[in-house]
Symmetry: C2
Subunit: 435 residues, 2 copies
């Protein structure tokens, strides 16, 4: 087999065999096939597509390119969740401890933010001392002893995906649904997941802009899960406006803490109950999604979910004083509200523009490795459907630089669409795929 023939096959719309994908992807991972051949192939895949069978094979090849976690000695059925990324999405921070408190241990490996989309690890690192670099042994021990883990991906897992993703990032080959699906699923399989809830975001603040794209990705991921003997469902979740109120790392941790104290924003609380309920159901802990939802509402109301979060933070070296008294979390120098310049109904809060404004303030990164400022961000006070009086606060901006603060005020006002007539609130979910 020659690498150039694998490229030519995909260029000419052929379907790869499992052997071809193994040869090509593992050869690349070992450094035997150069970047430039894989880059040409990735562009051919993006433009010509892959069948579900090819995508499943690519997933398995990448998943088994390194160490694959076996959690069967720690949990009866390892349940995971995955969000495709959005603005204000701090769901894992609530759902992982809540599901654990409900009796199903959850160990999750999360990622960092890039562009307008935030990342769970960045948020957690707002908590002084919190370690996101657990070893596999530490991960398993904490999963067994505490029942809840939120850490970074160990470098050993799915190295082929890591290498391929870095190449796609600089060659314009990220937005390929088969490549996105196989990248996500390979990491989940390598992390030992036996059941997965996909939180597929759709809208202007998501990578999938249209419902058709989101449905295609969701269907493909659920299909791969089935083909590889995993249980999975995918929720199609709105990401036209930010989720909850807080956008920015420490601000989102505060909102997650409030939610775990049963005082979270209505939409975010509801989102967490739904995601968590499906996890409990796929994990076999409850007989129905409704029963899962009731169980989660209970453990949040009773404080058990909060106690689990606190135990997780403590186990991972975080300073619990900073979560017991969240005013101790990083705090920006300039905190100012943005009042409504007019009255009316909110027809849109453009999630991507809000996310990009958070990046402008320093909450996110333009490119991998950029430093981030945990203190800065935005509180979103108005959501689609709200009636607003002139002068009422639309946003609160948390900034460490007066010039950026001024820019952010402008950008945030431009993110709002107004209506003179009543507007329906946005749904939280557009559909469910799988099971």
């Amino acid at each position: 087999m020659r690498a150039v023939d694998v490229i030519i096959k995909k260029r000419d719309r052929g379907e790869h065999t499992r052997e071809e994908l193994e040869y090509f992807i593992l050869g690349y991972t070992r450094g035997e096939i150069p970047d430039y051949q894989v880059a040409a192939w990735a562009m051919a895949v993006l433009l010509n597509g892959m069948t579900p069978r090819e995508t499943t094979d690519l997933t398995l090849v990448m998943a088994y390119s390194g160490h694959v976690l076996d959690l069967s000695d720690v949990v009866p059925r390892a349940v995971d969740k995955h969000s495709t990324g959005g603005v204000g999405d701090k769901t894992s921070l609530v759902v992982v401890p809540a599901v654990a408190a409900a009796g199903l241990p959850v160990g999750k490996m999360s990622g960092r933010g890039l562009g307008f989309s935030g990342g769970t690890l960045d948020k957690l690192e707002s908590i002084p001392g919190y370690r996101t670099d657990l070893t596999v042994e530490e991960f398993k021990r904490q999963l067994r002893e505490v029942g809840a883990v939120l850490t970074g991906q160990s470098v050993d897992l799915a190295p082929a995906d890591g290498k391929l993703y870095a190449l796609r990032d600089v060659t314009g080959t990220v937005p390929s649904i088969p490549l996105i699906a196989s990248s996500i699923m390979s990491k989940k399989i390598a992390a030992g997941a036996q059941a997965i809830v996909f939180d597929v975001k759709v809208g202007v603040g998501a990578f999938m802009r249209t419902l058709d794209q989101a449905r295609e990705l969701a269907t493909l991921m659920v299909d791969i899960a089935r083909q590889t003997g995993r249980r999975a469902i995918a929720l199609l979740a709105d990401m036209n406006q930010p989720l909850g109120h807080a956008v920015g790392n420490a601000l989102e941790v505060k909102e997650a803490i409030a939610t775990l104290h049963n005082q979270g924003p209505r939409d975010f609380h509801e989102h967490c109950l739904t995601v968590g309920a499906y996890m409990l159901w796929l994990g076999g802990l409850v007989d129905s999604v409704d029963a899962g939802r009731a169980r989660l509402a209970d453990v949040i109301a009773s404080g058990q979910a909060w106690a689990k979060f606190r135990a997780m933070v403590q186990a991972q070296g975080g300073d619990v004083r900073a979560i017991d008294e969240p005013e101790r979390l990083p705090r920006a120098r300039y905190i100012e509200t943005v009042p409504a310049p007019r009255g009316g109904y909110i027809a849109g809060v453009h999630a991507r523009r809000v996310g990009e404004t958070a990046v402008l303030l320093g909450a996110g990164r333009e490119k991998k490795g950029d430093p981030i400022d945990h203190a800065v961000g935005i509180e979103v006070h108005a959501k689609v459907g709200d009636a607003v009086q002139p002068g009422q606060p639309l946003f609160t901006v948390h900034a460490n630089d007066p010039a950026k603060l001024a820019q952010a005020r402008e950008a945030l006002l431009a993110a709002i669409t107004w209506s003179d007539t009543q507007v329906e609130p946005l749904p939280l979910f557009y559909g469910i795929i799988g099971e």
Copy 2:
């Protein structure tokens, strides 16, 4: 500007500006943009295409990526020819000295063979001592003093094309008509050509298999020539069967010598007259193509074309004894005929299979840098339309290895298609594009 945005533009079917192509291609040539980004872009170009305007801009960017020859102090109008490559195509060896003998000096930079397609430089190197590595100064001096030059491309010319072509070769991105056209034209412009005759081969033994593809490439090259202020025509020439009788380096030199002595195969002689006549016409030396053809027939019949070839070989260090007495050229150890296993009419002599058999014998190379054997090759005695008796010689195989000889016999018999009824000979040309 960022390289990844240039890739994304082409991925999304955008049209590049001249500035984008300059940034991307010159950045690549200088080593500032890595192979993997250019590989992804080349695949996007192959699959999404380029407009003629983009292709012209790419041509000019590559042509001016290095030194551009100015031959205006040596010849009134520099005329060049280019064949897209085929089997048995030794046209340059005859046409360059013949056109020069007719009064129009021609300096041509040729290439090497790859795969089933032979290369002029490899053929010329059958002549002991013949130098194909003239410097630009030697090239110009010989063009002025002798009037005929056949050498390799100086490394200074169109370095961007050289680097891009090498990358395309290993990334499955060769067969893109805009990339092929801009590669050919950039080298012609850099070599100082003011008028060009394209000999676009079409058929099973050519890179363009169909007349539509050949016409597309021919039209694009003629269009680029016009847009850049050059005169050009393109001949669409048959390459379903080998051109002439000889396939293999020294064998083809012998056939060229015979043709220059007015004793060449009819089809090859006629092909040379047509290509050369268009060169004389584009060069302004004659008023019509017919006048050009008559002039060439004269200089061949009178021995002037042969004398010019001899002077060129001598000027480039070649041993003229080897061309005065061609039996001194490299000669294979085993020379055997392949008799017809049956009688009938020849319906096909599959040019690519014949070319591949020559490579098998050692006359060509599978990949760049492979050594070649100048002595081996094939004489093709039967052409499409011929009536053949059982036992009549179809081929003569020249081999240096008995095992390969046996394989070649098999392969050559498989290259023949038979008919029980009379068959029309193949035309030499299917059409002319331009002027």
